[in-house]
Subunit: 305 residues, 2 copies
Amino acid sequence: MIDFNVTVLGCGSAVPSKMSNPSSQLISYRNKQFLIDCGEGTQMQMLKYSVRHRNLDHVLISHLHGDHFYGLIGLISTFHLTGRKSALHIYAPRKLQTLLDHQLQTTATKLSFPLLFNALEDFGERNIYEDDYLIVRSFPLKHSTPTWGFLIKEKETKRRIDKSFIKQYKPAVNEISLILDGKGFLTKDGTFLENGAITHDPPQGRSYAYCSDTAYEPFISKFISGVNLLYHEATFDNSLQSKAHEWLHSTAAEAAMIAKQSDAKKLLIGHFSSRHNNYELLLKEAKVVFENTIICQEGETYQIV
Amino acid sequence: MIDFNVTVLGCGSAVPSKMSNPSSQLISYRNKQFLIDCGEGTQMQMLKYSVRHRNLDHVLISHLHGDHFYGLIGLISTFHLTGRKSALHIYAPRKLQTLLDHQLQTTATKLSFPLLFNALEDFGERNIYEDDYLIVRSFPLKHSTPTWGFLIKEKETKRRIDKSFIKQYKPAVNEISLILDGKGFLTKDGTFLENGAITHDPPQGRSYAYCSDTAYEPFISKFISGVNLLYHEATFDNSLQSKAHEWLHSTAAEAAMIAKQSDAKKLLIGHFSSRHNNYELLLKEAKVVFENTIICQEGETYQIV
């Protein structure tokens, strides 16, 4: 199976603690890498955990709270100082573009590579990136500033032709192409074989969803239906639910409710408040609602299966 | 002796490495703290090394290269989120003020405390801070963008009255005051004692100088004459002297030459290039010129004596 994974670089919230850095994750698929959020110190976390990022051409920023983007200018600066040539694509709220320009101007930096900005502006679902294998989609979350979640999804592949059929009938290249497009096959003795009889269902496209920061909001589940791995913020435990509501964050149990409603295969929780110095209670409270929950560990890589 | 020390939070250069964070130092004297430079990750370094900073009201930024200030907005943000009330004074090139304003505006942050900006604009020596015990002075360095060095100096105290004189003659409060102002003393039997005979020289004011980033420039030594502890950048070893000249940085040997010319008591070298993965050679090359040289260690506190 093609490797599709996420490496957590930071899973703390707004105030960093000894235990956790601000938000950042690196998603790898084939020879592509996507960085989601880039809190202060993200580049140091990459060094600390020996995370290679030479295929990183796309950075997605969920919203403009500092703990999700204060590390971006430093990463861009390091790319520049180490002579990067290839374009870096940023997907973020529009205001970040003028701020990045201002930062580069203040340090009199003329970048060694093109910085291409794609503004997140609309509040529906939208495909923001697509290649032969993947689609990346943004969708709205519910927070105190415009905030987007992201879904990274393998494309559905074509049906697979049964090996014994190929061995027996040796179809020509153009015939194979027709079968992959859903057509049947006429054998030399005049028997017509239906497409369903000579092909198998393709493996289902896997997907990863990132939902941070957000209040508990059931509509989110429709954007991520059937997701293989869901990262959902779980800033507080149940005892701080009123704070979660006030600040438009979620409790671990609420994250688990979204996992359940969206029929996710697995839930990864993070964005922990610096008030918590032990995440076991958060895990326990989530598991009551959704058993297949795990806790973010910085430096860990999780397979999306 | 009153504690006067510097804690090194980062002593790397523009590209961070596994070994070192970008520039930052915390200077403590009595109940005052001064942060000099604030590279990305400075607040995490404070957490990592359990460095307390509750008396930190003054931040000095030497110049506008990112490795010297990209961590400032994150530190300000944490102060805000944890409810700071007291004013924070920033001493930095003027352009940083508009950038900080832009950053706060982008994150819709109305700070919980006053942020007071003092622009470094003139290129001579200037007192930028003064209280009953200390003077902080800025002076020009030689780099590819306007850059300032800083001298933090204990004020000269008054002469000290000899204890045996006090025991023998029991001077009144107003007489003590006159003696401290340099006057002599008339004993009851009519003998006049000169001030010099009944007082001792006060302990000399200690001082700390921060010189980073800068090319080797002999004029610097006149601003820091007789300094107790000199921090001077030593980005490269001798083999990379041409790069040091090209990029207006110094070699370790050049840092040592400034220490020698300024008659410094001790030299602390830092701002190491990420090309160097061992700093022993830098130390060796500096010691050839100036024996009392030490290497910056992140998390270490150095007494200024």
